[in-house]
């Protein structure tokens, strides 16, 4: 219950040298303890996979990683510094593909992405190429409400690709996507990891990928 004042142990030191690391995370929501004493470490090129049923705390853990939840115990570190002490810097290094896309239904795809561009550093990718790769190049001027759920997902993916960040947080990225779309997501993640990026992914199904994977199985 109370913060530990002792020096970090050897394992903890190892955790601290990783790019993204967490030690002894405990989260209690209302009456339920979602996880207790959770550790993980993630380095460039690695994938952290959160597995488990729906409602087992995957989303909560992801929100905690994004610095949006206050934990009962433990801290999450980015470059060895607690996330909550450098929230703004850390948020400049990540994109969060959440369950709800966070896109405005009344705005067009381009208007939505333009908003994102004024908030976050953009990558050197050519937007047109990204749209073409995701197969949404024809939908640019349509308001989002006229797009299907799968197409909206793809717009959210475009937002992720266009941002210049090393860390991708993906909460159930395969929802509403067809077989082809799922394959596309896996390719994108593989490319991102191949370019020294990192990814935290919550999924309730198996993910096969050619990269170092750390799995956290949640009850």
């Amino acid at each position: 219950m109370c913060p530990r004042n002792s020096l970090p142990s050897a394992t903890e030191c190892k955790l601290l040298t990783a790019k993204l690391s967490a030690a002894n995370l405990t989260l209690i929501r209302g009456e339920r303890c979602l996880f207790e004493g959770l550790d993980f470490a993630l380095d460039n090129g690695g994938l952290l996979l959160l597995e488990g049923r729906n409602g087992c705390g995957k989303t909560s853990l992801m929100r905690a990683i994004a610095g949006m939840l206050s934990l009962e115990t433990g801290e999450i570190h980015w470059n060895g510094v607690p996330v909550l002490q450098q929230r703004q810097t850390f948020h400049g290094e990540l994109v969060w593909l959440a369950h709800r896309t966070g896109l405005k239904w009344d705005l067009t795809m381009v208007e939505n992405l333009k908003f994102e561009r004024s908030l976050r550093r953009q990558s050197d990718r050519d937007p047109e190429e990204v749209y073409a790769k995701l197969g949404i190049e024809r939908l640019k001027r349509l308001p989002l409400r006229s797009l299907s759920a799968g197409q909206q997902r793809r717009v959210a993916l475009a937002r992720m690709l266009l941002a210049d960040v090393p860390l991708w947080l993906m909460d159930e990225p395969f929802t509403n996507l067809d077989r082809e779309g799922r394959k596309l997501v896996m390719e994108l993640v593989e490319d991102h990891l191949g370019a020294d990026g990192m990814c935290v992914m919550a999924a309730h199904q198996d993910v096969e990928i050619d990269a170092p994977v750390t799995k956290i199985r949640m009850q």
């Binding site: 969060w96 908003f115 004024s118 550093r121």
Partner: protein
């Protein structure tokens, strides 16, 4: 991957982007702007119907009625300040953006004022004339309403941030905001009354201005803190 030389967009870009997006959304959904205005006009109509059309009484109660109606109309529009962002997940995206949250909250509040406070100020002369308010007083009333609605939007953003995502948030929001808004109403309406009675009214204007500046500098931080708490 990360290019160290490339910098994040400036906070002004963040401020402008949030304000611009909300203005664009209001443009595409004019109902959200117009409904509080209609409400304002209707409340102003209720009073003559209830207390009678005598010129003397209308002249006397005009400033108070207009101010109460403006306060209620602002309250009505506050619920949507963060509500729709919460529902579609874009509030979460704002919370993980590399921009300082108080700045983004200020941008949203600015857009809220431009789409709720400013139209009220612009419409108020028409209603004031029906209350037989002289033109010189109408000017004072518009000035107090301008300063007052800025403060109301800022105070309201704190309440809206505290109640975002709660069931039955609307009633609760009124309960939280009304006591906070009472000084604004008191200063605003009485300043207009003073002006109508040919008294010195500058004290009220200065007080309203000071209140607006104080809330402009403090409220965004409270709103940002409240947003983080509500979204835990």
């Amino acid at each position: 991957m990360t290019d160290a030389h490339k910098e994040q967009p400036s906070i002004f870009s963040g401020l402008a982007a949030t304000a611009r997006r909300d203005l664009l959304l209001a443009w595409k959904r004019p109902g959200d702007v117009l409904n509080p205005l209609f409400f304002f006009a209707m409340v102003c109509t209720l009073f003559p119907l209830a207390v009678g059309p005598s010129a003397e009484q209308l002249e006397f109660s005009g400033p108070g009625v207009l101010w109460v109606a403006a306060l209620l109309a602002t309250l009505l529009s506050l619920n949507s300040l963060f509500g729709s962002d919460f529902e579609d997940g874009s509030l979460d995206q704002l919370l993980v953006s590399p921009q300082p949250l108080p700045v983004l909250a200020l941008g949203k509040t600015a857009a809220h004022w431009l789409t709720s406070g400013l139209p009220l100020v612009l419409v108020s002369p028409i209603l004031a004339i029906t209350y037989r308010m002289p033109m010189s007083v109408v000017g004072v009333m518009m000035l107090t309403l301008t300063l007052g609605t800025i403060t109301l939007s800022l105070l309201g953003s704190i309440g809206a941030a505290l109640t975002v995502g709660l069931h039955r948030g609307t009633a609760l929001l009124s309960l939280l905001i009304l006591p906070l808004a009472m000084p604004v109403l008191l200063l605003g309406a009485n300043t207009v009354s003073l002006a109508a009675g040919n008294d010195v009214y500058t004290t009220g204007i200065w007080a309203l201005g000071a209140y607006a500046i104080a809330s402009l500098s403090l409220a965004p931080y409270a709103t940002a803190a409240a947003l983080r708490i509500s979204n835990e």
